[in-house]
């Protein structure tokens, strides 16, 4: 790659990625560029991606997410924790993060958070905003800010729609044969319903496989860490809480769960780059410490 090409890619990455989801802008850019030029190929590639998972509407994302969550909860190793005090606390923290950051994706229903009764260190961000966190992972947090860091990372995955990105291109292409704009004008007959339900089930399998077995890409995890840290700062939590919780995970070590599906904590810490300044309010920190002791243990 020569210097001019790198400059072109860099310029496109800066301007194109933040507006990737803006259909009108992307279509206009597609029309304005030559198909054979580097810019044209880049924009057409981005548009093809939008026409796959990005084109799902919020209610569709919601129903996909419900089935992903159900499939995870159907596994005997992930029982729902019946700890009302903890689940309420998780919902308060997570909804505070979602409410105080205007660029958090706003799902069909509000975000909901629930603990799983297992020592495995793991968390699952289902499309549409249902977020499941294991006891094992919650134990890595020593403060409310660190707990918020875990939840903010998962909210970032939902916002960046990484779950939907895991749907295999073939399944998405097949789905859009039936769910295209023109086809939205009529109800489905039995045959079509069976076909769409089959594609729906395959898409759920793709996402669950990604969440439980394969994990997201290293880049996706770095994006979720970076955006999660931004969300923490937006809510007034210490953005460096994420680094602390990752350091604890790295120091204590472990296997399976997040240790198998995520980059190592050391790699994630490296990707975070330089620490972000935070002016702690001692009075507020003390109040958060009190409620963390009362509700998270």
């Amino acid at each position: 790659m020569n210097r001019q090409s790198l400059k072109t890619y860099t310029t496109l990455a800066v301007f194109v990625l933040p507006i990737l989801a803006c259909a009108g802008v992307m279509n206009a850019m597609e029309q304005a560029t030559d198909e054979s030029s580097m810019e044209g190929k880049f924009i057409r590639g981005a548009n093809r991606m939008r026409k796959s998972f990005q084109d799902l509407d919020p209610s569709e994302e919601h129903f996909i997410g419900r089935s992903v969550a159900a499939q995870i909860l159907s596994m005997p190793e992930y029982p729902l924790a019946q700890d009302e005090r903890l689940n309420t606390y998780l919902n308060h923290i997570g909804l505070a993060v979602a409410a105080t950051n205007e660029d958090v994706l706003r799902p069909f229903l509000d975000y909901r958070f629930a603990a799983l009764e297992t020592e495995e260190v793991n968390a699952f961000a289902c499309p549409g905003g249902t977020i499941l966190i294991t006891r094992g992972l919650l134990k890595k947090a020593s403060s409310e800010d660190e707990l918020a860091a875990i939840l903010a990372h998962e909210i970032a995955h939902v916002t960046l729609r990484h779950g939907l990105e895991a749907i295999k291109k073939g399944n998405m292409t097949e789905a859009f044969k039936y769910l295209g704009a023109g086809a939205a004008q009529a109800t489905m007959g039995p045959e079509e319903l069976a076909k769409v339900t089959g594609i729906f089930g395959d898409s759920i399998d793709d996402i669950v496989t990604s969440l439980i077995t394969k994990g997201y890409s290293r880049e996706a995890e770095a994006e979720a860490d970076a955006l999660g840290r931004k969300f923490l700062a937006g809510t007034g939590y210490d953005p460096e809480a994420l680094r602390r919780v990752l350091a604890k995970m790295g120091g204590e070590g472990g296997s399976g769960g997040m240790f198998a599906t995520h980059p190592s904590p050391e790699t994630r810490i490296q990707s975070l780059g330089a620490p972000v300044a935070y002016a702690e309010d001692a009075g507020a920190a003390s109040k958060r410490a009190t409620r963390f002791r009362a509700k998270a243990n």
Binding site: M1, A13, D57, S59, R106, A194, T197
Partner: protein, 187 residues
């Protein structure tokens, strides 16, 4: 005349630079709301099961109208992450602020039909049933009866009621969102 093909392998340094730039774009660009610029008079459709038209562009600003899936609004102006928009209440039109993430400008947006009002037209309701919809979930559940208990657990998680007032009190008590968009509001 054909040009010699360019080498397709990107040098490591360039790849690192691109990944870094992409991360910066994600961090500074966010990604939550996906609407292109809209003009005054354009129509918006509520895509969440429930949303609020507020009297100021703040998350916890008082609501001037309760909105549900399928409700239509008319754009007055754009303002950052918000639209100033008008909604036709039975008592007359009311103007307020709706978050861009609560609405879509797409004419063929797929709705679940679960949150829509009773007077939503039958043709629109029919369109609503197309796509990954409640009908598809029902069929998926019928095909996978072993998931039924897990779906009930999901229903329980999603049915949890957490009010704006609760979240606002939690934020205030913890000294959070200093100067953020959530401060200075009520219900």
């Amino acid at each position: 005349m054909k040009h010699a093909p360019r080498p397709s392998v990107m040098p490591n340094r360039s790849r690192v630079a691109l990944t870094g730039v992409a991360l910066l774009a994600v961090v500074f660009g966010g990604g939550g709301f996906a609407l292109a610029a809209q003009d005054k008079g354009d129509s918006l459709t509520v895509t969440r099961k429930a949303a609020k038209l507020r009297n100021a562009k703040r998350t916890f600003a008082p609501a001037v109208a309760d909105l549900v899936e399928g409700d239509r609004l008319v754009v007055e102006a754009e303002d950052g992450a918000w639209f100033s928009a008008t909604y036709a209440l039975a008592s007359g039109p009311v103007t307020g602020f709706v978050h861009k993430g609560d609405v879509s400008a797409k004419k063929d947006v797929r709705l679940s039909g679960e949150g829509v009002r009773e007077n939503y037209s039958s043709s629109e309701a029919a369109a609503a049933r197309k796509g990954f919809s409640p009908q598809v979930e029902r069929e998926h559940r019928a095909n996978n009866p072993g998931l039924e208990a897990a779906f009930q657990a999901v229903d329980k998680i999603q049915a949890r009621v957490v009010t704006d007032a609760e979240v606002f009190a939690f934020i205030s008590e913890g000294g959070l969102a200093q100067g953020g968009s959530a401060t200075g509001g009520g219900q």
